[in-house]
């Protein structure tokens, strides 16, 4: 499966993404486990909501990083977590 700009993604329901105050970061939660996300990873994952397309996400993330070109980084990251089974195509 190839991810394209217009693809709409959602979090697989057996995973949960949430902000953790004490850790000061976003985390991914699943049965008996947790992964802390880096700031940029958190910014991407929190936008995966079953509504936004990948290009929406890219635009949005770019805006939070002062208009930086994040195109490739976002795509790469999404491919990895797609492979992890955290997200799926809506």
């Amino acid at each position: 499966m190839e991810l394209k700009n217009e693809t709409i993604l959602e979090i697989v329901p057996t995973f949960r993404v949430q902000w953790e105050e004490v850790q000061n970061c976003y985390v991914v939660l699943y049965p008996e486990g947790m992964v802390k996300l880096s700031q940029s990873a958190g910014e991407i994952m929190k936008r995966v909501d079953g509504k936004k397309s990948i290009s929406d996400i890219i635009m949005d993330v770019s805006a939070t990083f002062d208009g930086a070109d994040v195109n490739e980084d976002v795509m790469k990251f999404l491919e990895v977590v797609y492979g992890n089974g955290w997200i799926r195509v809506k």
Binding site: E20, V22, N24, C25, L29, Y30, P31, E32, M34, S38
Partner: protein, 387 residues
């Protein structure tokens, strides 16, 4: 992750809260990791106590919460606790035998916000499952596992492996495939608690383990995209110990049914601990300041051969309970390590059991089942431990 300005920044956090709600259980597994002296633990925490513990732990960074026991389903307030936990933001795990569950409770848990259910099986066939569990439970477990999937929970199936069931690993894995498990934990018995009492009957042979491992690998490959299989071999067969609980007082916080706080669910047997109770102290003090949680934190408590060992940060000297049980001193190296002077003795024991296993008379020695009657008997026989 930078946690600038946070006073916790350099310190460990109790990420994992294990709530042992009760030691009551309809099953009687002879390898149960609950303390052999469990009959002494009366006076369970109230609903309010548990809610307070969950709130305090959450503030300190706890994210994963396991409801366990005993059998947590015995607690009538489980639905209330799940609801509270979920609203606090925990990822909530129910660790159960499935006995005491029915469809309406599965639905109620879902409404309360339960995230995940782990069901244990004792074996893949009715006869052995019911024998090991000491209860007629196999059919019921099977039905419950189906319902857990029907209501779209992620499901972990947990099977504790030992000499009586490890040869059936293929059937066990076929069962987990049939039940559509998302994760399968094939956990080798750890020899403390009841399994230490029954070690002669439970310790598998090296051949059995090698066979089991090859089958587990085969299924891991075959089921790669559908099911995650975790296979852990018992460390008695290794030369380096595990980093037990990922380090003492590092990420795990266990609360026993009576409210005693422990860095590990087996630590209740260690002499010299004071067992701070959540009825008397808040979780912050217990975690950061109590003598118990600092006792084996880091590496400064170590003796030789650990203290000068260049691998000490890797395994932190292994399991304190195992060190205590096998050497009489909890500050010794875990004898699984081949640098420990007790390592030979441990292997001698493993070999003694290996030689005898298969022998008819040896195999027919009865298992001591985990129940309150046996707990009382064993506790009474034991000479009081010097503290």
């Amino acid at each position: 992750m930078a946690t600038a300005g946070s006073e916790l920044s350099n310190q460990s956090q109790p990420l994992w809260l294990l709530a042992e709600l009760t030691y009551r259980c309809p099953l009687q597994c002879p390898y149960c990791s609950n303390p052999v002296e469990m009959a002494k633990y009366k006076n369970e925490l109230s609903t309010e106590d548990w809610i307070r513990v969950m709130q305090q732990s959450r503030k300190m960074g706890a994210t994963q919460l396991g409801f366990s026991g005993g059998e947590p389903l015995v607690r009538k307030d489980l639905e209330i606790l799940i609801k509270e936990a979920r609203s606090l933001g925990y990822y909530t795990n129910l660790i159960t035998s499935g006995v005491g569950m029915d469809e309406s409770r599965i639905v109620a848990f879902k409404e309360a916000g339960l995230d995940h259910i782990q069901i244990s099986f004792q074996a893949s066939n009715e006869e052995l499952n019911n024998y090991i569990g000491g209860t007629k439970s196999f059919q019921h477990k099977y039905e419950m596992a189906r319902l857990v999937k029907k209501y779209e929970y992620p499901m972990v199936l947990n099977i504790v492996l030992h000499r009586k069931n490890v040869s059936q690993i293929k059937d066990i894995l076929d069962m987990t495939v049939d039940l559509n498990a998302d994760y399968v934990e094939l956990a080798s018995t750890q020899y403390y608690g009841w399994s230490r009492v029954n070690i002669d009957q439970l310790l598998p042979t090296k051949e059995q383990l090698m066979h089991a491992e090859s089958i587990a690998r085969e299924y891991q490959e075959k089921m790669k995209d559908k099911m995650k299989i975790i296979y852990v071999i018992p460390d008695y067969f290794e030369n380096r110990p595990k980093k037990c609980m990922n380090g003492w007082g590092n990420i795990f916080l266990t609360i026993a049914p009576d409210g005693s706080a422990l860095p590990c669910h087996a630590a209740g047997q260690l002499p010299g601990l004071q067992f701070p109770n959540v009825r008397d102290h808040n979780v912050d003090w217990i975690w950061n300041d109590s003598p118990d949680f600092n006792k084996f934190r880091g590496t400064s408590w170590m003796k030789e051969p650990c203290s000068s060992c260049d691998e000490k940060h890797k395994d932190l000297g292994g399991c304190r309970c195992q060190a205590y049980m096998l050497t009489g001193d909890a500050t010794n190296a875990d004898p699984v390590c081949d640098k420990s002077p007790f390592h030979e003795k441990l292997h001698g024991d493993v070999e003694r059991i290996a030689k005898l296993s298969g022998n008819k008379e040896f195999e027919s020695k009865p298992l001591i089942f985990r129940n309150m009657k046996n707990s009382k008997e064993i506790s009474n026989k034991k000479t009081p431990e010097s503290v």
